[in-house]
């Protein structure tokens, strides 16, 4: 079973990972975006870590709702509402249970990813964070490690794709050959689950 402490560890690990990889994310965002993905997400996840330290919500759902709200209020760009919605909707789907099973979490994350797809209008293959999140959710039944590996494969698979959503879409065919920064950061978020599990 996963408790509030597990989800706090997840968010803290995600914040550390984004902080570590911020320059890499920004470098990926330069040729096809506007070179700010890393710095924006770093600002948001550091705010998440600070808020969780201050408020310490006592259910898994409340941890994720608080984290999502922080991202919406601090990141800006498309990443803020999209990542914020992912965590908020996942948290809401978890309800107010003190502990949740891994199976229940997988269902909730699926609902969160679905909300992101509706908000951004992106589908798998559009070269966005969805390309990492959808395979991750599908693999979650086999454990966090399998989910992380699936997300990473999904992010790598964005390289030959032509972007159809977000700012990279304006490049048309010239977006081909670059790894999507959003899918890369989504893979970091999923990989942080394995760290939280220890």
């Amino acid at each position: 079973m996963l408790d509030a402490d597990f989800f706090r560890r997840w968010m803290t690990a995600a914040a550390a990972s984004v902080d570590r990889e911020a320059e890499h994310l920004t470098a990926l965002d330069s040729p096809i975006g506007d070179a700010d993905h890393g710095s924006n997400l770093r600002r948001g996840f550091l705010a998440v870590a600070a808020a969780l330290e201050k408020e310490a919500p006592d259910t898994p759902g409340a941890v994720l709702v608080l984290a999502g709200r922080q991202l919406i209020s601090t990141v800006g760009g498309a990443s803020g509402p999209l990542y914020g919605t992912l965590l908020r909707r996942t948290g809401k789907a978890l309800g107010d249970a003190a502990e949740v099973s891994e199976e229940r979490f997988a269902e909730a994350l699926d609902a969160g990813v679905d909300a992101v797809m509706r908000l951004g209008g992106a589908a798998p293959g559009d070269k966005t964070m969805i390309d990492a999140l959808v395979p991750a959710v599908a693999a979650l039944g086999e454990g966090f490690g399998a989910a992380a590996a699936a997300a990473e494969r999904g992010a790598e698979a964005t390289v030959p794709l032509q972007a159809r959503k977000g700012r990279a879409s304006y490049l048309g065919e010239r977006s081909i050959g670059h790894r999507d920064p959003g899918a890369t950061s989504a893979a970091l978020l999923v990989a942080a689950l394995t760290e939280a599990a220890g």
């Binding site: 070179a35 700010d36 710095s39 919406i72 977000g166 700012r167 879409s169 304006y170 490049l171």
Partner: protein
């Protein structure tokens, strides 16, 4: 890369402090990042709120004041502001007559303004929204996030601002804003990439002998790269792209906009070529504005925006305006 900054993290806040010192006629909330005309809310007047990433100055904060925007929300450099800023701005300018959000068509701006509209309506503020999407360089927009919002934003903010200043109702101000957007087309070129403070080096690699055709205003590369062209050739290309997409029957407004790194000497010369092509194509020009209005940090280059107008739109364009970035008639 040398920049006149302290550290990248405080660039926006530092600029807002300096703006506050230079413009006592505005209320600049540095902490919450909202710029409001000092006399807001004006009784009976529709509030106009726009915003977007910083780095496009004077857009949008420089267009706050009588006759134009009521408030602006600057985000981080090239990053949409967050919903909290927009809700705060809406609350500060709403006199009960409602608020129009003017949103450039970028995924981040659209999502954050959508969230803000919901939150503001929860607080009892009537919100209308207009999306600016004038950039003809975005082809196959079915397969992208749609056309980008660029130079036409200035036309929308000025004309809708004049209508709001006259006391016209929200519905009318919104429909005028939509009309201006629907009648506007833009095309931009870059002669160099821009440098964001966070990255510290040019956002894309553009060799000295080449230019990007069809760039946006965020340092994103354009659709096509070619060997450097003359001002005359660029004007022919840009105006052609615009007229391929619209056939103006009435006179037009023209904006020859600098991206931030091109001197006025070049912009005026470029404008001469733009006017020549429009003349050759039989398009009558009612008014022309030349300068750095919708910029992209230090990017060299220019964009052309053409807006087909009628008598009513021309009257509203000519109406007095008093803002840091645009001022006439008062």
């Amino acid at each position: 890369m040398k920049m006149l900054i302290n550290v990248p993290e405080t660039v926006v806040a530092d600029a807002l402090r300096g703006m506050a010192a230079a413009h006592p006629e505005l209320t600049v909330d540095v902490e919450n990042r909202v710029i409001v005309r000092r006399d807001a809310p004006v009784a009976g007047k529709v509030g106009l709120v726009s915003g977007g990433g910083s780095g496009h100055e004077p857009l949008h904060g420089g267009f706050v004041g009588p006759g134009m925007l009521s408030a602006a929300c600057p985000g981080e450099v090239f990053t949409s502001p967050v919903p909290d800023q927009m809700v705060r701005a809406a609350a500060a300018v709403d006199s009960g007559a409602g608020v129009l959000f003017i949103v450039k068509n970028y995924t981040g701006d659209v999502l954050n303004f959508d969230m803000a509209a919901e939150l503001a309506e929860d607080e009892g503020i009537q919100i209308a929204k207009v999306l600016v999407d004038d950039d003809v360089a975005v082809t196959d927009s079915l397969y992208t996030a749609g056309r980008r919002g660029t130079g036409a934003t200035l036309f929308v903010e000025k004309i809708a601002g004049a209508a709001a200043e006259e006391g016209q109702p929200l519905e009318r101000v919104e429909s005028l804003a939509r009309q201006v957007d629907a009648n506007s087309r833009s095309f931009g070129v870059a002669l160099s990439a821009c440098t964001t403070p966070a990255k510290g080096s040019p956002t894309f690699d553009l060799p000295p002998g080449e230019l990007e055709l069809g760039v946006g205003i965020h340092g994103e590369p354009g659709r096509e790269r070619r060997a450097m062209m003359t001002s005359r050739e660029i004007a022919d290309f840009a105006v052609q792209a615009i007229l391929d997409d619209m056939t103006p029957r009435n006179p037009v407004l023209v904006l020859v906009n600098g991206m931030g790194g091109t001197p006025l000497l070049e912009l005026y010369g470029f404008n001469a070529e733009v006017q020549r092509v429009l003349g050759e194509r039989g398009v009558a020009v009612a008014r022309t504005l030349v300068g750095n209005y919708v910029t992209s940090l230090d990017m060299a280059g220019a964009s052309v925006t053409v807006c087909q107008i009628d008598e009513e739109l021309l009257r509203l364009w000519d109406a007095p305006v008093r803002t840091p970035g645009l001022r006439w008639g008062m």
